[in-house]
């Protein structure tokens, strides 16, 4: 459990400390652009409207007073909810997402909204309508995406945890790129009420932090059935392993090639696990190489439906100076307000749902989805967890020198499998190569989040979480790290 009265529990209660922390946050954020909005006072006001549960818990709640950041596609009352889109640049959320409400009930305070690829579509945060974010480990590299702002904020020590959403890897990949932990819970374990929908059957709200105990506390606060989200379920933790040795399945990577640094980290991770006494077992996931196609067909199809509501009529930016009919107004508003990647995915999704094309694309993708789900069930009958890389390459360069959008999509191969099967997964820091973090991930059977977190804790015994040189250090009162010289 986190110690009460640590820096983070009290930073917002002491005005001088808050001011010092906030000014450090703004200074660092000028370099990494993790945030789209920073406003602790607004967060505190939202908290005041949240009833805290009656009945005292023993001791101080570890989440009491903790500031946290929220990806800007998750609603926090009074804050903007831009989803990284120009179409929603002035939209103010009238309500808070269930997960945010639950965290506020525990005393945590949302202090800002983080940058993201527009509507969650992307793996770099370069698709944001408001400028990209930068990796605190190397400002010429991307922090990953789509929850790049959240991961960057946490890696830079600006907040102890941040919320993100994971549709095809969007919590785990940026966490891996930024050298921190990223948990994607089981589908349905966490309410999606208040998450702006991109792909409703794939996405889950997740949490990013440098500390496993923080993730544990946050997840425990967020999870559980919500009458406002009928895809949410009552949480029932998967069975514990009861003292026997952890068995981790390792799939053959087949034709998927890893960049040298990632291959090195992949090998070191397996070695590290063996050192810890973990049993590694080869498993088969034959559908893996077809998964990216199936994933994108489903994600784009669902996106085309979910984003149809953004028409500039009831909310959002309307095309200015227009005098035609509403239908034309909708077309223009969407065309002017939405970015290229979003348009591409809407077009693809619309196409694969067209009558005449549904069978060969959408239906086929759903059948491939059944195949991967069955393969995971089969695999988990013989192993406790599965180990996989997170991304085939290290954090890539910003701009045209980096990975092009098509290559980025193909690289979702390791992360999208958990979303297709609805399984929990966590990415963890595994190596530092040339000063860039490389992460790996564990996947688990449904509701095995605690098993995932414990595996991370054990692995941290051989490879601890690295310290980002740029980061603020909470133990130095929120000031800059003595090593930060940028």
């Amino acid at each position: 459990m986190m110690e009460a009265n640590t820096f983070w529990n009290t930073v917002l209660t002491d005005p001088l400390r808050q001011e010092s922390w906030l000014s450090s946050v703004r200074e660092v954020d000028r370099k990494i652009h993790a945030f789209l909005q920073i406003d602790p006072e607004l967060g505190l006001a939202a908290c005041k409207q949240t009833p805290t549960p009656q009945g005292k818990t023993d001791g101080i709640d570890p989440l009491q007073g903790i500031p946290f950041a929220v990806k800007d596609n998750i609603a926090v009352q009074g804050f903007k909810l831009t989803c990284g889109s120009k179409l929603l640049k002035d939209f103010l959320s009238p309500y808070s997402a269930t997960v945010v409400q639950r965290l506020m009930e525990r005393g945590a305070v949302p202090i800002g909204k983080t940058n993201l690829d527009e509507f969650g579509m992307g793996s770099s945060t370069q698709n944001s309508g408001f400028g990209m974010s930068y990796n605190p480990w190397n400002l010429e590299r991307v922090p990953g995406g789509s929850s790049g702002g959240s991961a960057a904020a946490v890696a830079a020590g600006l907040v102890p945890f941040a919320l993100g959403s994971d549709t095809g890897g969007s919590v785990r990949q940026p966490a891996a790129f930024c050298g921190v932990y990223g948990l994607k819970p089981t589908y349905g374990a966490v309410s999606r009420f208040g998450l702006v929908a991109y792909a409703s059957s794939l996405e889950v709200i997740g949490v990013i932090s440098r500390r496993i105990d923080t993730i544990r506390n946050v997840f425990q606060a967020m999870r559980g059935q919500d009458p406002r989200d009928h895809s949410s379920v009552a949480y029932q933790q998967a069975a514990e392993l009861k003292g026997r040795r952890l068995t981790v399945g390792v799939p053959a990577l087949g034709s998927i090639s890893l960049e040298e640094e990632v291959r090195g980290a992949w090998e070191k991770t397996r070695e590290g696990l063996k050192q810890l006494g973990v049993v590694l077992k080869a498993i088969e996931l034959p559908s893996l190489e077809y998964l990216v196609s199936a994933y994108y067909v489903i994600a784009c199809a669902e996106a085309s439906a979910n984003l149809a509501r953004f028409d500039g009529i009831r909310y959002g930016s309307r095309a200015v100076g227009f005098t035609g009919n509403p239908e034309q107004l909708v077309r223009l508003s969407r065309s002017r307000g939405l970015g290229d990647e979003v348009k591409l995915r809407i077009l693809l999704g619309t196409y694969v749902l067209r009558s005449g094309f549904q069978d060969q694309y959408y239906l086929r993708a759903q059948r491939i989805r059944t195949a991967i789900r069955r393969e995971f069930v089969e695999a988990f009958s013989g192993v406790d967890l599965i180990l996989m890389p997170v991304y085939p390459c290290a954090p890539f360069r910003c701009g045209s020198e980096g990975l092009d959008p098509f290559a980025q999509k193909l690289s979702d191969i390791f992360t999208c499998s958990a979303n297709m099967a609805g399984l929990p997964a966590v990415s963890f820091p595994a190596a530092l190569e040339n000063g860039l973090p490389i992460g790996m991930q564990f996947l688990g059977p449904p509701f095995a989040e605690e098993r995932l977190l414990r595996a991370c804790e054990r692995f941290a015994e051989v490879i601890p979480v690295p310290d980002c040189p740029l980061a603020l250090r909470a133990d130095s009162g929120g000031g800059k790290s003595p090593r930060a010289g940028r």
Binding site: P227, Q360, R364, T370
Partner: protein, 97 residues
């Protein structure tokens, strides 16, 4: 990339219509390439034998209902304030006819 034949261009135009997107000539050229690159990649799925596999449309298998109860909603002002153009409590849109 070679020239896109007119049939495919028509498909893209129809799709854009359905998606309520208006693409400029330049955008159409750019998106043509990207869309057809992805569709070509999707065709890889044809190699997969889907015989006997039912489709997974959603992950939750059982239906959930809630009690049919009314509850008080928050003030509508905060919702209406996001409208691009308001007149009293009405959202203004161009004439439909």
């Amino acid at each position: 990339m070679g020239c896109i034949d007119s049939m495919e261009r028509e498909e893209l135009d129809t799709t854009a219509q359905l998606a309520r997107l208006e693409l400029s000539e330049e955008e159409t050229r750019r998106f043509e390439q990207a869309v057809f690159q992805m569709l070509e990649y999707f065709s890889k799925m044809r190699e997969f034998d889907v015989e006997g596999l039912p489709p997974t449309a959603q992950l939750k298998q059982n239906n959930t209902t809630r009690a049919d109860r009314t509850s008080e909603q928050q003030d509508s002002a905060s919702i209406l304030n996001n409208a691009p153009e308001l007149e009293d409590r009405f959202i203004v849109i161009p004439n439909v006819l």
